[in-house]
Amino acid sequence: MTPGSALFIVSAVLCLAGAVTTVVSRSPVRAAMGLLGTILGIALLFLKLRAEFLSAIQLIVYAGAVVVLFVFVIMLLGTDAGSEPESEARSKIAPPLAGGMFLAFATALFGLLGGAIKTPTAFTVPSPDHGTIEAVGTEMFQNTLVPFELTTALLIVAVVGAIAVGRGRQGQKPNQRVIKNPQDFYVGPVMERDNVSQPEPKESV
């Protein structure tokens, strides 16, 4: 049992546990912590796989930003936001059915593929700076510069989009009547159950 394989086992367990808690837990906060666990586990694995830069990025971006964002939003909406609505007899069988089928497929697929692998492929000995920031940097700025620039554009668009969507309608001119009822934002065809104040649009002859 070399320290490397021990590291692998620990991080694998960490990842799986995190994943399971994310999927199963009732409260979203605990799910977020599960996700954090998985991310840390993968960061560890990155280290084992000689991808320091990536594990750093993983920690900074994923652990630092994305999970924090999730927790922030959960707190904003209130931890009970996702509670099951009272009596909604939403067809109970659709999601579990889908999940079950997917599980069946996944096991069949991996079993099938696993069985087919006769000879495990070992790792090759990498060059010394494999995975370091210099190597990733040179690769990124030489061969894959265009995707890099496109990613920057993507990020800007995402930021602007997030702000626009997140801010909602407050951006109206000051004399705009303050919207007491959130339903008013929504001008599209309204479901019966949401039809609180919207008069039924007159059917044009």
Binding site: A98, M101, F102, A116
Partner: protein, 838 residues
Amino acid sequence: MDIFPTNDFTLLAVILSFPLIGAFVNGVFGKRLGKEAVTLMALSAIGVPFLASVATFSKLLDIRAVQHAAGAGSADHVEQGARLYWHAWDWLDLAWTGGETTLSVAFSVDGLSGIMALVVTGVGFLIHVYSTSYMADDPGYHRFFSYLNLFIFSMLVLILGDSLPVLFVGWEGVGLCSYLLIGFWFQDDANAAAGKKAFLVNRIGDFGLLVAMALLLRYTGSLSWEGIEANSGNLPNQILKVWQMPEVLAFSFLPDWLLLNEPTIATLIGLCLFLGCAGKSAQLPLYVWLPDAMAGPTPVSALIHAATMVTAGVYLVCRLSFLFVLSPATMFTIAMTGALTAVFAATIAFVQNDIKKVLAYSTVSQLGYMFLGVGVGAFTAGFFHVLTHAFFKACLFLGAGSVIHTMHSRIHDTDSSQDGRNMGGLRAYMPVTCVTFFVSCLAIAGVFPLSGFFSKDAILIGALTNTVSSSGGVHDAFVWPEWAGSVLFGMGLIGAVMTAFYMARLYIMIFEGDFKGWSIVAGWKEPEGHDHHDDHGDGDEPIDGPAPHESPNAMTAPLLVLAALAAVSGLLSAHDLGTHWLDHWLDPVFANALGNVVTDAEAGSMVPYIASAATFAGLGGAYFVYVMRGGDPARELAEKVPALHELIYDKWRIDELYDELFVATLETLAEVSIFLDKWVVDGIIARASAGVVAGAGSVLRLFQVGRVQAYAAAMVIGSVAFAGFFLLPHARVQLNGDLSNGQYELVASPGLGYQYSWDLDGDGEFAEDDFADKNTANIRLNTGKTVEVGLKVRNAFGLIRTVTIPLTRPDPSADETETAGVQGRATGQLADIEGRQR
């Protein structure tokens, strides 16, 4: 210097253009020009063409005189008659694989149309003069004269046209004008309906003419008179094979001529043309529009429905006489229809009280006589009756018009002002109208010296003696029945008696006895004591409405002229008095028509005396019934058999029959087609397809449940299926090579990272681990041997599928058909073998 050369006779342009200009000016500027200008325009528009027609006629006379002088020597010389042409412009040209002909707007006048032009413009002019005062106080004065001028123009186009299409232009033009004139007082729905009815029935006739023109174009290649005459020679020999009459339907029991199972083209064309003539000249099947046409003003009835338009049919038959005689069947049909119409219309005229209706039915009956005449081949006699009828019938109508005019001033209701029962004793009040009416009555009855006698006798002689023989028509099975002569003559005689009777009745009803018109004025009180009859002059005037008075000169002058013409015109061709001018005049027109007509002269010698006897019998009878017995026998007969009287009074209820038979079927057809259109045609193509699309749409809508996860699940299932297809190996083998030498080649379908191992000798075990990349294998089989070829396929993921392909080589020693069958099945099987899974 001949300013009007024969082949470019521009005088015709003058004759034609004046009425057209008159119609246009009156129609468009009439209201602004005022009554006097309209009258001047209208009269000149007809007067000038009349003078031009007279000039044309004189030129024709000169040419005939020259020909006569030139040919005086030889006895058998037949003058070929004069014909003056005027070619206006090329109208259109028809070309087809069979030939090419140019239809030009060309006019020509010869003996026949010369006389017709004279009649049309002459009588037309008189009627125009008459209507200036008859329609004096009508608001639509200018509109009336515009239509009347347009009518004269169309009539002139009809008779002066040099080809059938130009005649057709005039033909429908007069139909249009009669529609406008009958429906002149359009405020009253009945008049408009009468106009429409006239136009539609005429249109049915025009349908016949159109078909005849089409047939003529196809079988003679031309539509002008000369063209048709030139190559109408072999018409009787051609048969129209549209559909073979199946034997079982051949009604063999019917006489051949009735069945017309082999109609020659000549008969077909003749019958179609006659359908046109029947429509226009109100013969039996299509006469229903003429009595209703009395809804128009009386001068219209006089001009159109007595003198000119209705005779167009007879003119056409005379013009194409050479075509009609080619088919005795057609001639017989014309003669029989004419005779039947004469008798039938006369019966209805017996009981009518409205004097215009009586005259209308008498016109129909007289037209029947004309068609009887031309039907039996006596074309000159028929045309002569057209002439004389134009005069006395116009005079009768105008006389009736002046009577109605005065009655109208007494009571402003059109129906009662035309009802004969309100009249009587007008002889005292309207002497001129009475005399002219009397002369015309005698003329139409056929009293000796007057024109009616001569023209009707000529027809009766013709009916008795003429037979039309089919000159060499191979296929025309019809032979002129020998009983035809006596039957036609008999019907003609009965018609003559009836005509004399009802005309006398009409005269007596209007002019004899005492005036029954006092009481019709509302609020009139019978002046007590004295008898009106004898103190009409000096007694106190009846309380309301002016006493009947003689019509103004503008109305009586034409009456006198027409009455004189009616009396004198008989001399044109009075055989008994030895004058045969009209026959010689028209000989060239009917020259080659009379070839087919056989007349045995001496049988007709007694006819004039029999005819006069018939006439006097009719007149005496009427005098006896209505004057000596004051109309009692008629009333008793009416009470004795009221149903028959009612039936005849309702005009044998023919109109109702047509409504029931034709109009009703058309209406149901229209209803059905509208329903069909809305629900079946539209239903299938538009509504059904829309329904299908909507239905499919609503089915697919069920799948959109709206929840993200449901869609995600569907996506997962889809990807699973997709992945499955790609991951699992497939083994499909294509086998080609030809069966004869047993050399086959098996080709397995390629795939992603596929490797194959074959077991060619069918013993079941495969070369264990040599999964080579080669996917083809060759195998040799000798005859009749079968082998199970095995194949293992391994894909990239190492999954293996085994397939066995049964191969059999047919044994050629089996019989031929079997091999062919097998061959077919084998190659089919060869092409795509889906092996059985082991």
